[in-house]
């Protein structure tokens, strides 16, 4: 570690992540790179530069970094032996950490007989053993990890500079936009959101769901025993007039959200149970839209501050959707209050400082 210009310690952090341009944690990684630059830290992603990842610095010089941080999502083996051999040989275990984005380092959890982190005990054992061998520190993007030894690190954050200015001239293309993949979301969407939309559909204009697997269950899902995770009623969506668009790169998420007068954030049940945060928690507040988050109001307040309760889409969903569309000015103050709260407590500056502290701790 070197001293930065302001006399602070300058840390070099290398993220090792499954590089998916339209999924996972790549927005957060880009946020860490930007904030790290301003704070005097060097943050990069393992690999050689790729043009479709704007704002992301790449490096393969593993030994030049103080810490390597693996970002694990729902897949364990996205790195093959050659890459791992390179990284593990160059950086000792005490300088390696894991961001456990999907809460895999936990007991087996099944929510409502539906969403789960591990299919069986053997799978859980492999995940936990892997994490234990791989890294000295396990970080989870939740305020309250369940397992002892896990460090809470929210990781995902808010970037005030990404805030889209309110459009005054062009009308919005959609009344409602939902950006997110159909991954363990269908039960909530079909049980709560779509019935509410159906009730007031006659009063709504365009509705758009953006993401993977809203157009059908992928053929490989059955082989993995994961068909429930992608369950979808394509005809039902069509009949309801919900337009489905494919996944978009992370750099287009906020502009896409800004195409909707209202944006809805849903979250898979396991994440709600574990209180795990994601990029969407914050991207939705960067967009020029009315963000409504399908969280219980207490959790919304915990993350967004008191005004977050006003934007929780928890009960009387249909009424709230209509109200937001008909009385947008009523929500402006709450949105601005949340943005102030996020800038103060959840910016990527905070996140980078928290990460540095966790790694040094």
């Amino acid at each position: 570690m070197q001293m930065g210009a302001a006399g602070t310690k300058s840390m070099k952090i290398l993220f090792v992540t499954d590089r998916r341009v339209d999924a996972g944690s790549i927005q957060a990684v880009a946020g860490h790179v930007r904030a790290g630059n301003e704070l005097g830290h060097t943050v990069a992603v393992y690999g050689h530069p790729e043009p479709n990842f704007p704002g992301v610095r790449f490096s393969s010089d593993v030994a030049a970094f103080d810490y390597v941080v693996f970002i694990f999502e729902s897949k364990l083996r996205w790195l093959d032996g050659l890459q791992l051999a390179h990284i593990l040989s160059a950086v000792p275990r005490k300088q390696r950490a894991i961001v456990d984005a999907d809460g895999m380092y936990n007991q087996r959890i099944t929510v409502d007989g539906y969403d789960h982190n591990h299919l069986n005990d053997r799978e859980r054992w492999v995940w936990l053993t892997t994490f234990d061998y791989l890294a000295d520190k396990i970080l989870q993007p939740t305020l309250k990890p369940h397992e002892p030894g896990v460090i809470p690190l929210l990781f995902y954050g808010y970037d005030p500079t990404a805030q889209v200015k309110p459009a005054t001239d062009a009308p919005k293309r959609f009344d409602i936009v939902h950006v997110g993949h159909n991954w363990w979301r269908w039960r909530e969407v079909s049980n709560s959101l779509l019935p509410a939309i159906e009730r007031v559909r006659a009063h709504l204009n365009g509705i758009c769901f953006v993401g993977l697997w809203w157009d059908g269950v992928p053929s490989w899902a059955w082989d993995l025993g994961l068909e429930q995770a992608f369950c979808v009623d394509v005809d039902g969506l069509r009949k309801l007039g919900v337009q489905v668009k494919p996944a978009i790169p992370y750099s287009e998420v906020i502009p896409m959200m800004s195409a909707g007068r209202v944006n809805i954030m849903t979250q898979r049940p396991l994440f709600r149970r574990l209180k795990i945060l994601t990029s969407k928690y914050f991207e939705i507040f960067c967009a020029d839209t009315i963000p409504l988050v399908m969280l219980d109001p207490d959790h919304a307040e915990l993350v967004y501050g008191p005004a977050g309760r006003d934007l929780a889409l928890y009960d009387r969903i249909a009424d709230k959707l209509l109200d937001a569309l008909r009385n947008p000015q009523k929500y402006r103050a709450s949105i601005e209050e949340v943005r102030h709260h996020l800038a103060a407590h959840h910016s990527y500056y905070n996140r980078v400082r928290e990460l540095v502290k966790a790694l040094e701790g």
Partner: protein, 364 residues
């Protein structure tokens, strides 16, 4: 010395035969040799271990990315053995700049997802000692270590003289050779040479007898190769049909010598990349254990350097058909070359000798 080999063992491919021999030879010489991993019943001759710290050295035998173990074991392995006690044997010449020869290559991202720099940087991170099974590595930071070797005890028929060998071979005392020619190898980067070979012997088809090839993907170009646009698994089924070539599935490593001995001749090819880099394989040596006359379809330099001067007769050069005719007419002459070459291999390329070379490299 306690050695731990790390490689993905497959009964039908790569280094399984050679590593098995290191286990046996090491034991005979008073060492302990195991393979990293959970005990497998597939290869009972090999003992497996996960107890990395019990070993003095770890030897990575690398052909492909999967030769590095999966998680969580790789972390356990690398954290348990310091870099200076790790060695890599680079069997495909990965630790080089990207090289293309005909359709062959040492790096191809569309095959395994890795660019050249990944191989170079990974190898450098894992070990300071990188060995390649060639007499002349291209890079100055690579040491020559042939790795594969000859097993004198594994010779299937120990003929006491060329005359006896020739008699047995000609069927006068032993009619157990149903094939004129046998070949064992998977259809990967071999078709260019195999085609030339088969076309050259087509005129001898009736004198030579049936031909049998054992290995993967000789029936047709596999779907994955078509999808990826990779030509290394090309094959011409029409030519094979015309020559009546019998094709069999891959056979396990411990049946190779017996199978090769069912043919009077057995060619040794090295894939184009290996020819360029001078890389040897298990089959370079193993074919001489089988009861067959090996046909050395290799460069003169390699033949002389590896097999000794007596082996020149077994390298047909450009006149394959003419040499085969002569071999069939005068088998005794050629069996003498085979037996002398076996002696040369036993003296210079035995597993015992190879093991000692490896031990010297490890201790250096």
């Amino acid at each position: 010395m306690k050695l731990l080999f790390v490689s993905k063992l497959d009964r039908f491919a790569r280094a399984v035969s050679t590593i098995t021999k290191y286990v046996q030879t090491g034991k005979a010489l008073g060492h302990e040799v195991s393979v990293f991993g959970e005990q497998s019943s597939e290869i009972p001759l090999v003992s497996y271990s996960l107890d990395v710290k019990r070993f003095d050295f770890v030897i990575f035998v690398v052909y492909m990315p999967a030769d590095f173990p999966d998680l969580p074991y790789l972390a356990q392995l690398l954290d348990g053995m310091p870099k200076e006690r790790r060695v890599i044997i680079d069997c495909y010449g990965r630790y080089n700049e990207t090289i293309r020869v005909e359709h062959d290559f040492n790096h191809l991202e569309k095959m395994d997802g890795h660019q050249g720099w990944e191989w170079i940087e990974a190898f450098q991170a894992v070990s300071n000692k990188i060995l390649q099974p060639t007499l002349k590595p291209l890079r100055s930071d690579v040491r020559s270590f042939l790795f594969h070797a000859y097993d004198p005890a594994g010779v299937v028929c120990r003929h006491s003289s060329p005359t006896e060998a020739a008699k047995a071979w000609s069927g006068t005392t032993n009619g157990t050779k149903p094939y004129g020619l046998t070949y064992v190898g998977n259809n990967w980067q071999r078709w260019t040479q195999m085609r030339r070979f088969l076309e050259a012997i087509e005129s001898l088809k009736s004198d030579l007898g049936p031909i049998c090839i054992a290995g993967w993907d000789w029936d047709r170009r596999p779907d994955w190769a078509i999808q990826l646009g990779v030509q290394g698994a090309d094959v011409d089924p029409v030519l094979l049909e015309r020559l009546g070539v019998e094709r069999r599935n891959a056979i396990p490593f411990d049946e190779v010598r017996k199978f090769l001995g069912q043919g009077r001749f057995s060619p040794i090819f090295h894939r184009p990349l290996f020819n360029q880099l001078g890389i040897v394989t298990n089959r370079t040596f193993e074919t001489f254990c089988a009861d067959t006359i090996p046909l050395l379809m290799l460069s003169e330099n390699l033949v002389e350097a590896m097999y000794g001067p007596e082996a020149r007769l077994l390298a047909p050069g450009d006149d394959l058909a003419g040499r085969l005719k002569d071999m069939m007419r005068h088998p005794e002459v050629y069996w003498e070359a085979v037996l002398r070459t076996r002696t040369h291999l036993a003296e210079h390329h035995s597993f015992e000798r190879r093991f000692k070379e490896l031990a010297a490299i490890l201790e250096s």
